[in-house]
Amino acid sequence: MIVAKKKPIEEIIDEIKGYQKILIVGCNECVTVCESGGKKEVAVLASALRMYFLNQGKDVKIDEVTLERQCDHEYLEEIRKMIDQFDAVLSLACGVGVQFLAEKYTRTPIYPGVDTSFMGVTQERGIWTERCQGCGQCILARTAGICPVSRCAKRIFNGPCGGSTKGKCEISREIDCAWQLIIDRLKELGRLDDYEQIQPIKDWSTERAGGPRKVVREDVR
């Protein structure tokens, strides 16, 4: 999933304090799973903002809606009829949803309510960790199913570097050394000999470096 975290409420207030009618739009997908922008978080944020403006003696209307997804036209269309009643929208979707909303509703200012962080997993309740950076050319077959692009702080293809200590990364004892994980798993799979194959220089043109990306499937268009 795309993992996001809630923005500090002070930052949100600073962005929207000039508006009288605000719609908070949640998303039922990834941000619901990572508990940053689903129906529940929309309700909590709406209450907090109402309380804040009430205390400030300001009459600000705050409405709530949570869409199935904010990255598909059909769901975003559901708010077409109501959007003109608001002078700003606060989206709790990831950066993708915020932008898609803004592309569709060109006359309404759209603000982000979360900081979109990475593609990852629910490690355990309340902890989400990164697994993929969408480099556009998956190499997991060659690295025992553990990604050095997203999990090594130096994105090293022939690791571990000299900073690997007791299975942890040189930048933090909280972070596993991806290459220790790769080696452990190669061993588990009886493939430790594969370690000595030099991974070639990567083609980064399929990653961010190559500019905004696009996938086209003619057969399903």
């Binding site: 130096k154 293809f157 022939n158 930048i171 080696i183 370690y195 000595e196």
Partner: protein
């Protein structure tokens, strides 16, 4: 190993003539006055065969390695250009290699580099377009195939003796020798190791290297560092990633009064060199006297590594 040299590198000549080589390193200053680096080099020049210039070590911004190497070259000395892949993409790496080659810098040490979080720009981007092994491959490709990575011919290709670092003490230990084998396969011709304090573990590492015959394929320079104080020993043990300082060393340093600790540190360093001279496969020493370059001449002399050989 072949005794035929492939480059005009003095370090390569010394090693291939069968001498124990001595290298040391100098960190460039944090400013544009090149005087400090020249002064450090002047201090050690008669006691070493070549001098590494670090490349923004620990990610702290400094005068660049390439310009510092040029200063040394203009003094008639033999620099080893350290180059990390942290800060440059493949265009910049190849370009700087050519820049160094244009000044006849004949040695390069290929590294990935410390993560930027340790330095003065922890909020900056890192590059890591290549890793250290891929940089080794790149320099060898430019030198031997006389081509850029993109495939075009290079006019006057670089003539560089190509080195890599090895840390016998990082984890996991079992991968340390396979990793060295990989660096050799990628093109490393000499190796400078991390500072050795745990001599026993290093000897085991060298045995595993000999078991695979790797000592016949690459020149291994054992890294040593004189400790200035027990505080430094503890700092290296606890705070520097991948460093192995055994308790006996800490005990020995703390067993002498503070003012005698620098002498004790130098003594340990010399004893380490003497012991490692006996280890088959050790072809020289890399003395990293961190901001203590003035001790290098004494260490070299008292270790019996002076005078340095003259090579044609």
């Amino acid at each position: 190993m072949s005794t035929e040299t492939k480059t005009p590198s003095k370090l390569e000549k010394v090693l291939k003539a069968g001498h124990l080589a001595v290298t040391s390193e100098c960190g460039p200053p944090r400013g544009s006055d090149a005087h400090p680096i020249k002064k450090k080099a002047e201090m050690i020049k008669n006691y070493v065969d070549a001098i590494n210039i670090t490349d923004n070590q620990t990610s702290v911004t400094r005068l660049c390695s390439l310009a510092s190497c040029i200063h040394l070259k203009l003094m008639g000395l033999e620099p080893i250009l350290q180059m990390v892949t942290r800060d440059r993409n493949r265009t910049a790496l190849q370009s700087d290699i050519l820049g160094a080659a244009s000044f006849d810098i004949f040695n390069i040490l290929c590294l990935s580099g410390d993560h930027q979080v340790f330095g003065d720009n922890p909020k900056g981007q890192n590059v890591f377009d290549l890793d250290s092994m891929q940089l080794l491959q790149t320099v060898r490709h430019m030198r031997d195939q006389k081509k850029f990575l993109g495939g075009d011919d290079i006019g006057r290709p670089p003539r560089m003796f190509v080195g890599a670092a090895a840390n016998p003490f990082a984890d996991p230990f079992e991968i340390r020798v396979p990793r060295l084998a990989k660096k050799i396969a990628a093109g490393a011709e000499f190796i400078q190791t991390q500072c050795i304090f745990n001599v026993e573990k290093f000897e085991l590492y060298m045995k595993l290297i000999r078991d695979r015959g790797l000592h016949e394929k690459v020149f291994i320079l054992a890294g040593v560092t004189p400790l200035k104080s027990v505080g430094m020993a503890k700092y290296m043990k606890n705070r520097v990633p991948g460093m192995d300082v055994p308790d006996e060393i800490i005990k020995r340093m703390s067993g002498v009064p503070k003012e005698k600790q620098p002498d004790e540190g130098v003594k340990i360093c010399i004893e380490t060199i003497q012991r490692l001279k006996q280890v088959e496969g050790v072809k020289g020493f890399h003395i990293m006297a961190i901001e203590w370059e003035e001790k290098v001449p004494e260490i070299v002399e008292r270790s019996g590594l002076s005078p340095r050989p003259q090579v044609p």
